[in-house]
Amino acid sequence: MYGFEALTFNIHGGYLEAIVRGYRSGLLTAADYNNLCQCETLDDIKMHLSATEYGPYLQNEPSPLHTTTIVEKCTLKLVDEYKHMLTQATEPLSTFLEYITYGHMIDNVVLIVTGTLHERDVQELLEKCHPLGMFDSIATLAVAQNMRELYRLVLVDTPLAPYFSECITSEDLDDMNIEIMRNTLYKAYLEDFYRFCQKIGGATAEIMSDLLSFEADRRAVNISINSIGTELTRDDRRKLYSNFGLLYPYGHEELAVCEDIDQVRGAMEKYPPYQAIFSKLSYGESQILDKAFYEEEVKRLCLAFEQQFHYGVFFAYMRLREQEIRNLMWISECVAQNQKSRVHDSVVFIF
């Protein structure tokens, strides 16, 4: 019932919404980032973080710190919070929360499959996986030789199974195949998530369709740019775009035929929301496109908190926290490698 969420939302969702809003206010602020950027060593970073909500997670780390430890502990906090919310959630919120992790699951599958292809140690790969995207038999992915086996052996038990219907081939796995698989999976996942949100309806549908459309469009642009100069045909490229979003369908037609980045830019500038992003870039430059997209995303995610009684806040919070962890990772890396001049290159301020 659109517009009447206020009546019933709090019965099941009120507690968790309060929790997530509380979590959100624990995000680092611009002042925190300014302080972090001035740090000289990783210990300073730890020192500063100990005054924030990350404090309890870092306090027992012995002193020669590594960037990975910081990121690991920060991720652990996010995972703890996620698990807390998931155990408290009821339908349909619990399904919604689970949907959020499928993206990580896809990434993990791809990571392990690529890793085994290059004959890495499975344990080592497992450590690199995002903890939110873990599932039971993830380690057995290494057994599979081709897509069909991958599906039949492992993924049939996971929530990703339905997304696989489009990419079952008997071809042996190679880098290109895997990349195509990742994007096909992502496409199916985003479309499924989009449908799910529409089914929930109300403010959730409204806000999530905005956020997911942005995600789909960003992926479309990235696919187009990355596939320039590869053997991917136009039709294949067209197939990887998700069937919703601001660019669907006409923008996709244009993107599909782009041959260089300036054509992509030409196609995108017809859409007012993206015009602003591309106008920041000078011609021929794609390095800071990622950052521009991230900034736009963060802006939209923050806006999700302006409205009440919808599930978008959970998605937004998880994304914001991930962005924050990316920021922390970048800052710590810059500090660790004495590249402090580059610290501001990739940090996206959240507030």
Binding site: A18, G26, V143
Partner: protein
């Protein structure tokens, strides 16, 4: 007026006089001075570096001037090491707390630097020992598992009847093939008949896996081999520690068998084909299953088993020796641990405090500001002198008093008796904060708010029901819920009385137990409570030194409140003549008797008066008679109104004392006077009527009098007239009340506005700020004035709210005191029900068992419902009467608590 001024001063009435002091400490004696002040615990430092981030502060990083100073970071690192060691001691099952030396002062103090070195050594040693024993432990566990696999897998192989002793396999190979050249065509057949299939190329892998994973493991195997395999499993006999998990298993080897172990399953997979082998091995790896080679041959198997067992026993002795060694090391550390932790904690607190100080211009001295009670000035000076002397400093510490504009913190010196009452009053700050919704949205607050809101809602809902169901068990649950949570978070939010304003705790000491007793009046129950309270008081020393559970702690904290409450309930119970609802003739014989000898019509017709009035309290003969309820209701209702009016008047009078103390004549003239007139012209008059009615025995209907005083003030009172001239008096009182309302609403804001404009008349420029030099020296000093804007509309709205609140409150608060009547009625009715319907009913049967059951039910009902729940309910209602009805007349409660820098408080905060 002089008489009031000459009253002896009450310690608890006003909070301690505080003063802002400035310390200028030479750098070399700073550390010692601050730690001496910490021992003293009477000075609250102000943070002068509020605007600086943690690592810009002086003592976080080493600075050139203070090279010998350990930093906060070093303290943090040391406390991390201590936590690490403590964890290990706990895991090893040694209790450091008990082994702590009885007299820590007798041990020689060691320097912090020395401690740091020692700690580093200990940590290093521990880590090394762990690494060693971990390796050993891992081998040990592997062997243990191997042994298990050998046994179980051997059983399978035996049972499958394979005695192909002619072909032997190598030990170090995981896979044992009987026949390398399998006939692929007969795969299906082999699967059907696993027993005699040895000749046709079946190989097997044996290993061990966690029980939780075994189902998925089997399914995965089935899928990969497309069903061409046979999976045999048997549970391992003992719980085994997983050798792969590095989870400090070695640490607590003996306890580990219970703590870290998992149930495991031994499996043997039969399959055929080289490809299947690699796949199965990969799956084993992925699932964390450990594979061990098992020879087909029985004799060989026995031989290996023997070898394994002998190595196991060797390892066991080695491990035990290592363990003993480690335990010894840990015990010796545990001996000092508590003291070291204390020391590091203090050190860290000292540096945190030093970080609040500022450098002066020359960078040779540290400048600090803080609040201290005036009585403590000499003690602080002594401590500072001692510090100067002990650190051989050339220059003494300069200590001088400063003026301040900021309000000082509130500090009461309480003793164990008054402390609980002070806490009750301080808790009001939280109540108020929630009420005005000042709870901002962060994680913790959101939770608190939700919980509290829930408690309040449940309380309100059940309260609506309450008037229909006279038992108030339901009400209580709601309040109980809200209150328990409220209690839990009190420590976070208590904001205390404004500096030097009248402290309600003084009166609460008596009024709180009294109002409680009015609701809980029963001298039987009172005696039970008294025994409990006396027990707590008598064991004070014992309980005070040990850690109690949260509930017990609450009880113990309020032991003196409980004591007073029980004494007052005995008193009130005597007045009500209630003893588990059994009437007693304590003070002589009753004034009433029945109409006839059988006394059968007492309930219907009533009693006749025969003798003198019963000397003290309620006449016992009335119990169960017709006039019992009407009489008690009338008595208790009127009494609650009288008590309420008295307490509210006391509140207003206290607001007069406050205004006088802060010499605020405006508040006296335009707030105190109209308020007291308003309240007393309406409800004071009602009290007068009540007393008069009691004294004269008049039949006048007071409802009628009060209602028609408003509806038609000029009408004749008729039979309801109590004294001559009542009609005229009523008109006058009504007029006074009507005048009092605009009196308290309008003049004050207008006068304030006039004063403001007069003060700033002709001033076109603002006051010049203090010079930059001065600002650099003392940023954020309490001396700098706040520039306040005068906003007339805001002041007026505030005054309007205040007046409306008072006028409406006069009615609703008076009605609110009726809870005294309601609760006391509920209490006596409940106890009557339990006595008559349970105990007497059971006693009616001539059966021992029924009587015993009846007695048991009565005892439980009395203990849990009447003594526990009712106590809590009456407590909460008394609390509310004090917080809302009494305190809102004069208590602003917006001060902040005095939190001196003290090592003693530091120890309490731990855990």
């Amino acid at each position: 007026m002089e008489y009031i001024d000459n009253l002896p001063s009450m310690d608890l009435m006003r909070s301690e006089k505080m003063t802002l002091v400035q310390l200028i400490i030479p750098v070399e004696s700073a550390h010692r001075a601050v730690s001496y002040l910490g021992h003293l615990g009477l000075l609250q430092f102000r943070d002068l570096n509020d605007d600086k981030s943690p690592f810009q502060r002086t003592f976080v990083n080493q600075i050139q001037l203070l090279e010998n100073f350990p930093q906060v970071k070093r303290c943090a690192e040391m406390s991390r090491k201590l936590r690490f060691i403590k964890d290990h001691i706990h895991k090893a099952g040694l209790m450091p707390g008990l082994k702590q030396s009885p007299n820590p002062a007798s041990q020689p103090d060691i320097e912090l630097e020395e401690l740091e070195v020692q700690l580093a050594e200990h940590e290093h040693g521990l880590i090394e020992m762990n690494a060693n024993s971990e390796k050993l432990q891992q081998t040990y566990n592997e062997l243990l598992e191997f042994n298990m696999v050998l046994q179980k897998a051997g059983d399978f192989l035996l049972s499958s009847g394979s005695h192909a002793a002619d072909q032997e396999t190598e030990l170090d190979e995981n896979i044992h093939t009987i026949d390398d050249y399998a006939d692929t065509a007969s795969l299906l057949e082999q699967e059907m008949q696993p027993g005699p299939s040895n000749q046709s190329g079946v190989r097997f892998i044996s290993g061990i896996i966690c029980k939780s994973k075994v189902l998925r493991f089997e399914r995965m195997l089935f899928r990969t081999t497309r069903g061409n395999m046979l999976f045999n499993q048997a549970p391992a006999d003992d719980q085994i520690i997983d050798p792969a998990s590095n989870e400090m298993v070695s640490f607590s080897f003996f306890m580990g068998n219970i703590l870290n172990s998992v149930e495991k399953i031994v499996f043997v997979v039969f399959f055929s084909g080289e490809q299947a082998r690699t796949k199965i091995l990969k799956i084993c790896e992925a699932f964390g299953a450990n594979c061990y080679p098992v020879p087909e041959d029985t004799t060989k198997r026995r031989q290996i088993t023997r070898e394994v067992l002998s190595r196991l026993s060797e390892l066991e002795t080695t491990l035990e020796a290592g363990l003993r060694h480690r335990d010894k090391a840990l015990t010796s550390i545990g001996f000092h641990l508590a003291r070291w932790m204390n020391m590091v904690r203090r050190e860290k607190a000292v540096y945190d405090t030093l970080n609040m100080l500022n450098f002066d211009v020359t960078k040779k001295c540290l400048v600090g500001e803080g609040w201290c009670p005036i009585f403590a000035k000499t003690k602080i000076q002594e401590a500072l002198q001692r510090a100067t002397f002990d650190s051989n400093s050339q220059v003494g510490v300069i200590f001088h008093v400063m003026d301040s504009i900021e309000s000082p913190p509130t500090y009461f010196r309480t003793n164990p008796f008054t402390n609980a009452y002070q806490e009750i009053v301080d808790a009001y700050g939280f109540h108020k904060n929630v009420a005005v919704g000042r709870v901002c949205c962060n994680k913790r607050n959101a939770k608190i708010f939700l919980h509290f809101a829930f408690g309040v809602i449940v309380g309100w809902l059940t309260r609506l029901v309450k008037f229909e169901v006279s038992g108030n068990v339901v009400v209580l649950m709601g309040y109980l819920f809200g209150f328990c949570l409220c209690e839990m978070y009190l420590k976070i939010y208590s904001s205390v009385g404004r500096y030097q304003e009248a402290n309600p705790a003084v009166y609460t000491i008596v009024t709180f137990p009294f109002l409680f007793a009015v609701m809980f009046g029963d001298w039987g129950h009172g005696i039970c409570l008294l025994l409990g309270a006396l027990f707590l008081v008598a064991r004070e020393k014992k309980f005070g030194s040990q850690k109690l559970g949260s509930f017990m702690e609450m009880l113990f904290g309020g032991r003196y409140v409980l004591l007073m409450m029980s004494i007052f309930s005995i008193y009130c119970g005597l007045i009500y003549n209630e003893f588990f609802s059994v009437p007693f003739h304590i003070f002589g014989s009753s004034a009433y008797k029945c109409r006839d000898a059988t006394c059968s019509d007492a309930r219907i017709v009533g009693l006749v008066k025969s003798g003198e009035t019963y000397p003290f309290g309620v006449d016992p003969s009335w119990r169960g008679s017709r006039s019992e309820l009407p009489f008690l209701n009338s008595l208790k209702m009127k009494m609650s109104i009288l008590l309420g009016i008295t307490q509210m008047n006391l509140g207003i009078v206290l607001s007069y004392f406050n205004a006088r103390y802060f010499s605020n004549s405006l508040d006296i003239k335009y707030q105190f006077v109209p308020q007291i007139i308003f309240l007393n012209s309406l409800f004071g008059y009602l009290s007068l009527l009540i007393i008069m009615k009691w004294c004269t025995g008049s039949q006048a209907d007071l409802y009628h009098v009060m209602i028609y005083m408003f509806l038609s003030p000029f009408e004749d009172l008729g039979e309801n007239q109590l004294f001559r001239g009542q009609g005229v008096l009523q008109v006058i009182l009504l007029l006074l009340a009507v005048i009092a309302v605009p009196w308290m609403l309008f003049p004050k804001p207008f006068i304030l506005k006039k004063l403001h404009t007069e003060r700033f008349q002709g001033r076109t420029y603002g006051i010049l700020g203090t010079s930059d030099m001065y600002n650099d020296e003392e940023p954020r000093s309490a001396r700098q004035p706040h520039h306040e804007e005068f906003n007339f509309s805001e002041v007026f709205v505030h005054q309007m709210i205040h007046s409306i609140e008072f006028v409406l409150g006069a009615v609703s608060n008076t009605a609110s005191y009726l809870r005294l009547w309601a609760l006391s009625l509920a209490h006596s009715e409940l106890s009557t029900v339990f006595y008559e319907k349970v105990l007497l009913l059971a006693w009616g049967y001539d059966n021992l068992i029924i009587r015993l059951i009846g007695l048991a039910v009565f005892a439980f009902a009395t203990a849990f419902i009447l003594l526990m729940m009712e106590t809590l309910s009456a407590f909460l209602h008394a609390l509310r009467l004090h917080w809302v009805e009494f305190q809102n007349k004069f208590y602003s409660g917006d001060g902040y608590k005095f939190r001196p820098f003290s090592f003693a408080a530091l120890n309490d905060d731990e855990d």
